[in-house]
Amino acid sequence: MTDLADPHEIAAPGDPVGAPNETHGTSHVTSTGISNEKLAMWVFLGSECLLFGGLISTFLLYKERTASGPKLHDLFDIGFTSISSFVLLISSLTMVLAVSAIQRGDHRSLRSWLAVTALLGSVFISGQVYEFKEFLNEGMGFTTSPASSAFFTLTGFHGAHVTIGIIMLISTLVLSLRGRITQEKAEAVEIVGLYWHFVDVVWIIVFTVVYLIK
């Protein structure tokens, strides 16, 4: 109520904005010009930047401190991780196609692309599980050294984010199958997409910082 007065956004007289019956649907007019749901996701992603900023900084600080454990770059299989990174990046493309499909009202394509995106995400997670298991076999566990702790915390948190993203995608798919995602509610899919793209962008940084830079 206090921030109502942007003098540049004056509703014209007779503007239907003021109608009291517009308390439903996704057509709320907000003073920011962006829906509350989408703004909430952006704010959440802002706080996620802080989380991953802290984790990446910690990793940079500790990556040389391998103590008596193996050195990180002796264990990395850059080729393998590149492929799984590529799979994750492609899933951003299929996510865009899913959003585009629902915006056109094409429910069949929406469902297909959501399923493909979730599948690609699962492939990435499978790769991470395999990789973690390999590292464990080579003698690098969570508490082996400060470097291994920082590595598993950073990549593990990212993996958890991808997993939650997959759950969101499958939930969206189920909602769509039950007819709850109408074309007017395309923004719901777009918001899930925002999260998914964010997780991808974070992986580009993590992959570069952790795996590529020696």
């Binding site: 206090t2 007065a5 003098p7 007289p13 239907p16 003021g18 109608a19 019956n21 308390t23 600080l61």
Partner: protein, 409 residues
Amino acid sequence: MQTPLLWEHLFWIFGHPEVYIMILPAFGVISEIIPVFARKPIFGYPFMVFSGIAIGFMGWGVWAHHMFASGIGPISVAAFSMSTMFIAVPTGVKILNWLATMWGGKLKFSAPMLYSIGLVTMFTIGGLSGVTHAVSPSDTQQTDTYYIVAHFHYVLFGGALFGFIGGWYFWWPKVFGYALNDFVGKVNFWFLLIGFNLTFGPMHILGLQGMPRRTYTYRDGYGFNLWNLVSTVGAFLIAASFLVFFWNIFNSRRKAKASALVMSGDPWDGRSLEWMLPSPTPAHNFDVIPTISSLDDFWHRKYGEDEKGRLVRIAATEDVSQKGDATDVHLPSPSYWPLVLAFGLPWVAYGLIYNLLFCIVGVILIVGAMYGWIMEPSTEPGGDHDDHEPEPSDASGDAVATEGAALVD
């Protein structure tokens, strides 16, 4: 690169922005209160807004001023020293604008206004001692002394809490439908102001004398006795002021119930839109969402200017207020799921500290509540609202109960 240093960084990169989360809402509260009791618009509105945003943004870049004594090195110290002094600029802009709002105004010293002025003055003292922390050589002497305790109580108690109590007195009638007694509120304020300054003012001196914080006792003969005694007296005064506050709530409520008078919608001759509604605010808020054409729109519906620029009333408050009796406003169905979700969060927090099993309970509650919240219909099933015609709200924004807005469901 030692582990405790990393922990300090991670703690303060969260912890410093967190203090701005506490103070910025209080700044907003008194920016609402001061114009009402000065009967003037807020001075420099855009500067107010942008300095608030500037504080929010710069607040992320000053955290290491908590760590000047931890050995982060001269370059870091210099950089954070600079950024910390720099953040005083938008804060100073705000203080100047509050003063300029009061300057030449028709001041009315009701309880909410007293607390707001309390914030401006007490926060300024805390801000000044804050700048002495930003000067890193003097900060190394102040670190871990009572001087720090004095500083953060002047900004967060004298600042944030004064603003919040002012806000409670200001919006109490709007929220609960009865006003807190203003005279008792003033007594409450003076007890609190004097008690606060007696408690935390001497800590500046104690700190500069070298009394360490986080130590509950001190030895005789260091010269700490007198000022600690004064602090103790002040602390009891603060306690007394809160008893006055709680008594005020209890007594005002009892009297309001006995008198059966209807609370005015606009008891302070307010400026912002909530005051054009009855008190307490009806569940649907506005009968018709008003069309806004200026800052302080409600004020401009009540007052205009004559040819000499003097304030004249152009409409009675009742004529520009809304009745709050609309029956055709469709509200989303109420939901218990947000409460379930909130109930789940402390389980996770507790579990992370004591026993991870509690986290499982919390996660089940949170995730279950999320799905429940998403899956439940926000409007009644079958409520197809296509039969609504958009209602026009006329140019002056008066509440016109339009005929024929169909009742849904």
